[in-house]
């Protein structure tokens, strides 16, 4: 029988899994794999400039293509740089397979150069992690990794590859079947339970759907919209669930939670049946737990048994894939339009529409509304902070649009590499990153990747010279003591009282240009439209548009951390 090295089998396995793109950064322990990848043409290898950006890129690639994202990094620091990205993907249920190099088996445990116990380090932030100790296990382990990553509740899998094992000759066979005795993901819906839930839905006087990220991950959006239209039950979404039905749909109420709309939070507070699909009742959406949806019975559909009844008491738990559940619902649901309830919700919407105070200076809403106007098809990737909340409030998500972000972990630095991964996976779709000046600087080196891969990204940087979301908390709850949030503070400022400060730190426009990208600075409302039009012309180059924003801009409504949904701060 023909024998090949582990390195060769790895490349073969990737091809058999249908992988056409991987994100890799080389090193001593993976140099032989780099060599094998160099010798072939089927798999495109993207070289980011930092492993943290690398894993975010693979993550966004996976979120926007539905494929498994694949990472290849070296041992030691290459591997530890994955940690934040793995936790991000784990939290948001993103399928990744990450290969890490490892020192040769006889060196493991010796504190060898660039040796870390990466499987141990990442045990609690991966769906599964394993070191390949025997060459003959390699094929099976890779096969299992892809299966585990994409099935059930998707998540990241890490495979640690000792250099000597990968160099060993062994079978050239890549298995075609998977059989893991401890892992049999169940996606089928318990029809009896579902019928019980639907009966409650039909009986309810004030029913409400709550759609979470699971609906988007399962690509259940279209069927869900049909269920919503058939029943005429209104919908609230989590930020990860935004787009579960089009945000301009008359039955869409808004996002719920800390920065949700008034109408959405009031609806949750007043509903008598909360029918949740693919959400996990995180503290940012529930606020104070015992006051959450106080009048409602709760139906909870989730693929992860451990997400059900963890945070809140659930009346009807249903373990199922969102799509399977929604498809079955389509068969059983009937119209249950509740005129008075819909009227009530409409009046809440009217009472406090989602709207920022119109001010003389340009605000976030102006920018996002321009994006809504100019792009009928787009993938929008946000970073984390105020701009993320503005985006999740104001970005319209219709059929050809998608918004992705680090929702669970809240990883600053996700936005820019996320946009790169999305664009690589979707070369024909406009990709727009929305980031703050803080988060943008956390992975700014990725300009090199974006320029060299000729990605026509539009990078919107909301620059307010502050870490805005923390500043917002300081303004509201810490007596305006802006400790650690001013991105222009430092010895130079203290010594010269600001007199000798450079105009910008950094000058984002020049920075973009230094990498060969385009840079545009926008300071006035009238310039927004032209800036996007200009950016659209750069079809083989990323364009950074820096928007100078007033640091006093606040995200409203806001629920105080630990507060209840009905006690929203509307403005101040």
């Amino acid at each position: 029988m023909r024998q090949i090295t582990g390195n060769k089998l790895l490349v073969k396995a990737l091809k058999e899994e249908g992988v056409d793109t991987i994100f890799g950064y080389p090193g001593a322990c993976t140099i032989d794999i780099s060599d094998e990848l160099y010798k072939q043409k089927d798999i495109r290898v993207i070289l980011p400039r930092h492993e943290q950006a690398l894993v975010h890129e693979a993550d966004a690639y996976a979120r926007t293509t539905g494929k498994v994202g694949v990472c290849l990094v070296t041992s030691g620091p290459g591997a530890t740089n994955l940690v934040t990205g793995l936790a991000t993907a784990n939290y948001d249920s993103v399928p990744l397979v990450c290969f890490t190099g490892q020192v040769a088996k006889h060196l493991i445990g010796n504190d060898a150069f660039q040796e870390v116990d990466i499987v141990g380090i990442t045990r609690s932030i991966t769906k599964y992690g394993v070191t390949v100790r025997n060459r003959e296990d390699l094929g099976r382990i890779i096969k299992e990794a892809f299966y585990i990553a994409r099935t059930g509740r998707p998540g990241p899998v890490l495979i640690d590859l000792p250099k000597d094992v990968m160099g060993e000759l062994g079978s050239a066979e890549y298995p075609s079947e998977v059989n893991i005795r401890g892992y049999k993901p169940n996606t089928n819906v318990h029809v009896g339970q579902l019928k019980r839930a639907i009966k409650m839905l039909h009986k309810a006087k004030r029913p409400l759907f709550l759609a979470g990220g699971g609906v988007n991950i399962a690509h259940a959006n279209e069927s869900f919209r049909e269920v919503v239209e058939k029943t005429e039950v209104p919908v609230v979404t989590t930020i990860m669930g935004r787009g579960a039905i089009p945000t301009n749909h008359p039955l869409f109420v808004g996002n719920l939670g800390m920065h949700g709309t008034y109408a959405a939070n009031m609806a949750v507070n007043e509903c008598d049946l909360l029918f949740s699909i693919g959400a996990r009742f995180n503290d940012r959406i529930t606020g104070k737990l015992h006051a959450f949806a106080p009048k409602a019975q709760i139906v909870h559909i989730d693929i992860d048994t451990a997400s059900i009844s963890r945070n809140i008491h659930v009346d009807v738990p249903i373990v199922a894939d969102a799509k399977e559940a929604v498809l079955k619902m389509k068969e059983y649901v009937e119209g249950c339009k509740r005129e008075a309830w819909l009227k009530q919700i409409a009046s809440w919407k009217e009472e406090h529409p989602l709207k920022m105070k119109k001010r003389a200076v340009m605000g976030p809403q102006d920018i996002i509304e321009e994006i809504n106007r100019q792009f009928k098809e787009a993938i929008i990737v946000t970073d984390v902070g105020q701009h993320q909340m503005f985006a999740s409030q104001y970005v319209e998500i219709t059929k050809k649009k998608q918004i992705i972000m680090s929702g669970g972990l809240g990883t600053m630095g996700y936005g820019f590499p996320g946009a790169i991964g999305a664009q690589i996976g979707n070369p024909k779709t406009p990709v727009i990153a929305i980031s703050g000046d803080g988060g943008m600087q956390m992975n700014i080196q990725e300009f090199a990747t974006a320029v060299l891969e000729e990605l026509p990204l539009i990078l919107c940087v909301f620059n307010n010279e502050y870490l805005g979301m923390v500043r917002q908390w300081q303004k509201l709850f810490y007596g305006k003591r802006y400790g650690m949030t001013n991105l222009r503070s430092g010895a130079l400022f203290r010594r010269t009282e600001g007199q000798e400060m450079p105009a910008y730190t950094p000058d984002f426009v020049k920075l973009a240009e230094s990498y060969g990208a385009k840079g545009i600075r926008v300071t006035k409302r009238e310039e927004i439209k032209a800036a996007f039009e200009e950016a659209k012309k750069n079809t083989k180059l990323p364009t950074l548009i820096e928007f100078i924003i007033d640091p006093e801009e606040m995200v409203y409504p806001m629920i105080q951390p630990g507060g209840t949904l009905k006690d929203m701060i509307m403005d101040c």
Binding site: G120, Y128, G129, R133, I148, R153, G182, S309, R310
Partner: protein, 168 residues
């Protein structure tokens, strides 16, 4: 907190490197109480079986079982709390600085608890108890009160479902 009490789980897991660490890491990472954990291989060398004791309320215990179940390396989770099982724990107590009177008393204690004195020195004795963890708790408490210097080591409960016995 409803139903705060001691509970037991029997766990079939893959006999692989890192699985014990993953299971114990779940308990520490999610702040679950881990009272004791024993592990050993079974008749199938690729499978290990763990007996886990935890003090938790109803909701937390449900979460523990679900979290264990979703681990790839976990093959089966059996709740031992309310079914008939045979469960014992081994306990060694070494009593040091014994007077002759102490020694007599230790033999009496051993007889009462159906324990064995398994080693004997000039001024020390080694006693082996194989009984339920709860009884062992009582023994340790008693021995601490009775003797100045003792050394205790215990193994954690191991358990298996009963065949016909309707007692624990």
């Amino acid at each position: 907190m409803d139903g705060m009490k001691k509970r037991w789980i029997s766990l079939y897991v893959e006999n692989q490197v890192g699985v014990l660490s993953k299971i114990s890491g779940l308990f520490s990472g999610k702040s679950y109480n881990l009272d004791s954990l024993t592990v050993g291989t079974t008749e199938d060398p690729t499978v290990s079986r763990m007996t886990i004791a935890t003090v938790s309320d109803d909701e937390t215990f449900e979460q523990i079982k679900k979290q264990l179940n979703r681990m790839i390396e976990v093959i089966k989770v059996i709740d031992f709390t309310d079914i008939f099982v045979r469960m014992k724990e081994i306990l060694y107590i070494k009593v040091l600085k014994c007077t002759p009177q102490d020694k007599i008393e230790i033999f009496q204690i051993a007889e009462t608890f159906k324990a064995k004195v398994i080693d004997y020195g000039k001024d020390s004795l080694l006693v082996e108890f194989v009984q339920t963890a709860t009884k062992n708790d009582a023994v340790v408490k008693l021995m601490k009160e009775e003797f100045k210097s003792i050394e205790v080591v215990r193994g954690g409960s191991v358990g298996i479902e009963s065949i016909s016995m309707m007692e624990r």
